[in-house]
C-alpha cells in the first residue's frame, strides 16, 4: 500500500527527537567518568529504572511485530507476548541480584568475577556483540517500516535517521541519556497504547468498518459463481497452470485475479506484480494513486459477528475477546507466482477464518505445526517458547541496566516495576492486534504497519502520535543495544582482554568510536533485512542469547564446581551452535537465501530446545575435566 505522508507525525517526531537529543546533550556534562558513561554512576532511582526497563525491552518487535502478527494471524502473536513477559521471571528470581552483586559495567564483569579469565572476557564480549547485532536488525527494520507512512521516504532513510540519532544520543552521555530516553519512551508507549485500547473498545467491532474520515472500507467480493465473473476468463498457462486462480480480463484489457473457493465459487484477490525492470502493477494497473493507476486496498474486517449483528457498539475488554472468539474475520493469505518473463506476482487472497480457529495456538505459518500429530513438528513451538523464557535474562542490553541502580534491593524493585509495566503492555497487544485485524485498515503487504494503521483508522492525530512514539520506541531500544555493544568493545575487549594501554581521553573515545561503528553496522543490517518480520528476527536473537549466556550465568551462580574453561566453552558452543542452526533453518532458507525451505538441513527453525541443554552439558563436562587440583595436604606427624 502507498501511505500518505503525515506532516503532523513528522512534526511530533521532530519534537520527540529534539527533546531526547536536548536531554542527551544536557546530561552529557554529567557523564564524564567510566561509571557515569557505562552505568549512569549507579544513581538511577529504581522506579525510573523500572520504566526504563520497559522502554529498553518494549522494542519495535514488541510493538510493531506482535501487533502485526496478531492482526494477521490471531492468538499466535500473543504467544510472543507471553514468552517475552515470562522471561522476566528468570531475570527477577535468578539473575537480578547476583548480577548486581558480582558485576560492574558489563555482563562479562559478572561472569568473570570469580575467575579473572581472559577467555571468559573474550567469549562474553563476542557473545554480547553477536546478540546485540541480531537484536539490532529488527529494530532498524522497524524504523524503516515506519518511515514510509511518516515521511514518504524509502525504507533506508528511516534506518539511517534512527541510526544517526541513536549514535548521537549514546555518544553524548552514554547510559545516563540512554536511561532517560528509555524512560520517556516506555512511559509514552504504555500510556498511548492504553488510550488506543480504550478508544478501540468504545468503538466496538463492526462488519462494515469506516476510516477516520467516515469513508466505508472496501469489502472485496466473495463467493461469486463462475458464470458471473465479469469479463473473459483467460486460459491457464505457464506458471498459472494448476493454481486455484482464475484470471479475468475486462473490456478495457485489465486482468484481475480471483481465487477458487472450496465450494467452487470465486473470491476477489489482490495482486502486486513486479516486472523484471522493477515496474509494479496492482490488479493489472500501474501502481499509484493517480487516474489510470491502482493501489492495494486496505483490508481486515469481521464478516460475521455473534448473533448476526452488524456492530457490537462499545464493549468491555472481556466482551471484546468473546466477540472475536465467536466471529468470523476475513484474514488474508498470499502466494507468489513467478512467470517465464521474470515477472513475480504476489497474490493476496481472502481467508474467512472463524474466531475459534485464530484465537487458539497454531493459526499462523510460524506455529501451524503445533497442530500436527507428529511430535517432531511441535518442537519448533516448544523451542521458541523456551528461548523466549530463557532469553530475556540473557540479553546484554537488559543485563547492563542492573548496574544503573545503587544496590540489590533497587535492582529487585526496578525489575518488579518493569514487570508491571511490560506485563500491562503485553495484555494490551492482544486488544491492539485484534482491533487492527477488524479495523479495515491493514496493509496486506506489511504486517509491521498494523498498529499505526489501527490508530489511523481511529484518528489521524492518533496515527501521528503513535508513529512518532513508535519511532521513539526504536530510539530507546537501539540506544540500549549500542550501549551494550560499545561497553563490550571498550571495557571487555580493549581494556580487559587486549590490555591496551589507553589514557583516559582515549578510553572515552574508544567507547564512543565503538558506538559509532555499531551504529553504522546496525544501519547496514537494517537495510539488508528490510523484508523480514521483525518479531521473527527477535526470536532468533533470543535463541542465541539464551543458548550462549544463560547456561554460563546460571551455573556460575548455582554450581560451585564451575570452572573458567567451562564457562568459556559453554558461551562459545551455545553461540556457535544456535547461530549455525538458525542459518541452516527453513526460515533462513526461505527469507534470507531465497531457497526452497524444504531443503533446509535442520529439522526445525528454533534451536533453543537443543542448544540451551547443549550449553549446560558442555559447561558441566568441560568443568569436570578442568577441576583445579586440590592443594597438597601435609602428612600427619
Amino acid at each position: 500500500m502507498i501511505h500518505e505522508t503525515s506532516l503532523m507525525a513528522v512534526l511530533i517526531f521532530l519534537f520527540f527527537a529534539s527533546a531526547v537529543i536536548g536531554i542527551s546533550l544536557y546530561l552529557g556534562r554529567r557523564a564524564k567518568s567510566a561509571a557515569g558513561y557505562f552505568a549512569a554512576g549507579g544513581n538511577i532511582h529504581w522506579a525510573v529504572n523500572g520504566i526504563a526497563f520497559a522502554g529498553d525491552y518494549l522494542s519495535a518487535a514488541s510493538f510493531l511485530g506482535i501487533c502485526g502478527m496478531i492482526a494477521f494471524y490471531g492468538y499466535d502473536g500473543f504467544l510472543y507476548s507471553i514468552g517475552y513477559l515470562a522471561g522476566w521471571i528468570v531475570a527477577l528470581f535468578i539473575i537480578a541480584e547476583p548480577l548486581k552483586r558480582l558485576g560492574r559495567f558489563t555482563f562479562a564483569d559478572a561472569l568473570d568475577n570469580r575467575f579473572n579469565s581472559r577467555g571468559i572476557k573474550l567469549a562474553a564480549a563476542i557473545s554480547t556483540l553477536v546478540v546485540s547485532c541480531f537484536y539490532l536488525i529488527p529494530q532498524m527494520v522497524g524504523a524503516g517500516a515506519l518511515v514510509k507512512p511518516l515521511l514518504g521516504f524509502p525504507h533506508y532513510v528511516g534506518v539511517i535517521v534512527v541510526g544517526a540519532i541513536v549514535t548521537l544520543i549514546v555518544t553524548t552521555a552514554g547510559m545516563v541519556s540512554t536511561t532517560w530516553v528509555q524512560f520517556i519512551k516506555g512511559s509514552l508507549l504504555v500510556l498511548l497504547c492504553t488510550v488506543i485500547t480504550g478508544m478501540l473498545l468504545y468503538r466496538g467491532v463492526t462488519t462494515q468498518p469506516v476510516n477516520a474520515q467516515g469513508k466505508a472500507c472496501t469489502i472485496a467480493a466473495r463467493n461469486v459463481p463462475a458464470d458471473q465473473l465479469l469479463g473473459t476468463v483467460l486460459p491457464e498457462e505457464g506458471a498459472w497452470v494448476g493454481k486455484p486462480y482464475a484470471r479475468v480480463q475486462d473490456a478495457a484489457g485489465v486482468v484481475s485475479v480471483w481465487r477458487k473457493d472450496a465450494d467452487g465459487t470465486y473470491s476477489a484477490a489482490q495482486t502486486l506484480a513486479v516486472q523484471k525492470d522493477g515496474k509494479k502493477f496492482v490488479n493489472g494497473l500501474p501502481r499509484g494513486r493517480k487516474a489510470g493507476e491502482r493501489d492495494l486496498d486496505p483490508v481486515g474486517y469481521a464478516s460475521k459477528l455473534p448473533e448476526g449483528v452488524k456492530e457490537t457498539g462499545p464493549v468491555g475488554p472481556f466482551g471484546f475477546i468473546r466477540t472475536m472468539q465467536d466471529s468470523e474475520v476475513i484474514l488474508w493469505g498470499n502466494e507468489k507466482i513467478t512467470e517465464a518473463n521474470g515477472t513475480v506476482t504476489t497474490i493476496y487472497y481472502q481467508k474467512p477464518t472463524a474466531g475459534k480457529d485464530f484465537m487458539t495456538p497454531g493459526s499462523s505459518p510460524t506455529f501451524k505445526k503445533v497442530r500436527s500429530a507428529k511430535f517432531v513438528d511441535k518442537l519448533d513451538f516448544l523451542s521458541l517458547m523456551l528461548a523466549l523464557f530463557c532469553g530475556t535474562a540473557s540479553l546484554p542490553h537488559i543485563l547492563i541496566r542492573y548496574y544503573t541502580v545503587k544496590d540489590q534491593i533497587s535492582a529487585r524493585k526496578s525489575t518488579i516495576v518493569g514487570i508491571a509495566a511490560i506485563g500491562f503492555f503485553y495484555v494490551l497487544t492482544l486488544f491492539l492486534g485484534l482491533g487492527a485485524m477488524t479495523s479495515g485498515a491493514l496493509d496486506v503487504t506489511d504486517s509491521n504497519m498494523s498498529a499505526p494503521l489501527l490508530a489511523r483508522s481511529i484518528s489521524e492525530f492518533l496515527f501521528a502520535v503513535i508513529s512518532a512514539v513508535a519511532f521513539t520506541t526504536v530510539l530507546g531500544t537501539v540506544s540500549g543495544l549500542i550501549m551494550a555493544a560499545s561497553g563490550a568493545v571498550a571495557h571487555d575487549l580493549m581494556t580487559n582482554f587486549f590490555k591496551i594501554p589507553l589514557d583516559e581521553f582515549q578510553k572515552v573515545r574508544a567507547a564512543k568510536i565503538s558506538a559509532v561503528c555499531v551504529g553504522m553496522i546496525a544501519i547496514v543490517l537494517g537495510i539488508i533485512f528490510a523484508k523480514m518480520n521483525v518479531n521473527f528476527l527477535v526470536g532468533w536473537a533470543f535463541n542465541i542469547a539464551a543458548s550462549a549466556n544463560l547456561p554460563a550465568l546460571m551455573m556460575l551462580l548455582f554450581w560451585k564446581r564451575t570452572t573458567k574453561q567451562g564457562i568459556t566453552a559453554a558461551i562459545i558452543v551455545g553461540m556457535l551452535t544456535s547461530l549455525g542452526w538458525i542459518l541452516l533453518s527453513a526460515q533462513a532458507y526461505k527469507d534470507v537465501y531465497g531457497l526452497d525451505p524444504a531443503q533446509a538441513i535442520v529439522p526445525f527453525s528454533q534451536p533453543a530446545i537443543v542448544t540451551i541443554p547443549l550449553g549446560f552439558l558442555v559447561l558441566v563436562l568441560v568443568s569436570l575435566f578442568t577441576q583445579p587440583k586440590p592443594a597438597a595436604v601435609p602428612a600427619k606427624a
Binding site: 564524564k32 567518568s33 567510566a34 561509571a35 557515569g36 492468538y75 500473543f78 504467544l79 507476548s81 507471553i82 513477559l85 515470562a86 522476566w88 521471571i89 528468570v90 527477577l92 528470581f93 535468578i94 541480584e97 547476583p98 552483586r101 560492574r104 559495567f105 472481556f318 475477546i321 468473546r322 472468539q325 475459534k356 484465537m359 487458539t360 495456538p361 497454531g362 503445533v370 497442530r371 511441535k378 513451538f381 516448544l382 517458547m385 523456551l386 523464557f389 545503587k406 544496590d407 540489590q408 534491593i409 529487585r412 524493585k413 525489575t415 518488579i416 514487570i419 508491571a420 506485563g423 503485553y426 495484555v427 492482544l430 571495557h491 581494556t495 580487559n496 583516559e504 578510553k507 572515552v508
Partner: protein, 91 residues
Amino acid sequence: MGGLDFHAPVEKEQEDAGVVAHNTRMGVILFVIYVLFYGGFMGLSAFAPQAMAKPILLGLNMAVVYGFALIVVALVLSLVYMRVCRVAAKK
C-alpha cells in the same frame, strides 16, 4: 576527565550472607512454581490444542485465560518475592 579508571575499586554494598542465601532460596522456589505453570501452558498448547479452544471463564477460552494468567501470576509472584525478601532483610 577524572574518575575514568576502569580498575578503580568498586564500592560494594554491605551484604548479609544469611539474607542473600534466604533471598536466593525464595527466588528459586518461586522460579520453580512459575516454570511449572509456564510448562503447563507449553504442554497444553503443544499436546492438547483442542483444550485451548474451550471456554472456561467468563466465556473466554483456555488459551486467552491461561495467557492472561501467566502475565498476572508473574506480577503476583514478583510482589510475593518482594514481600518475602523484605521479611528476610529485617531479620
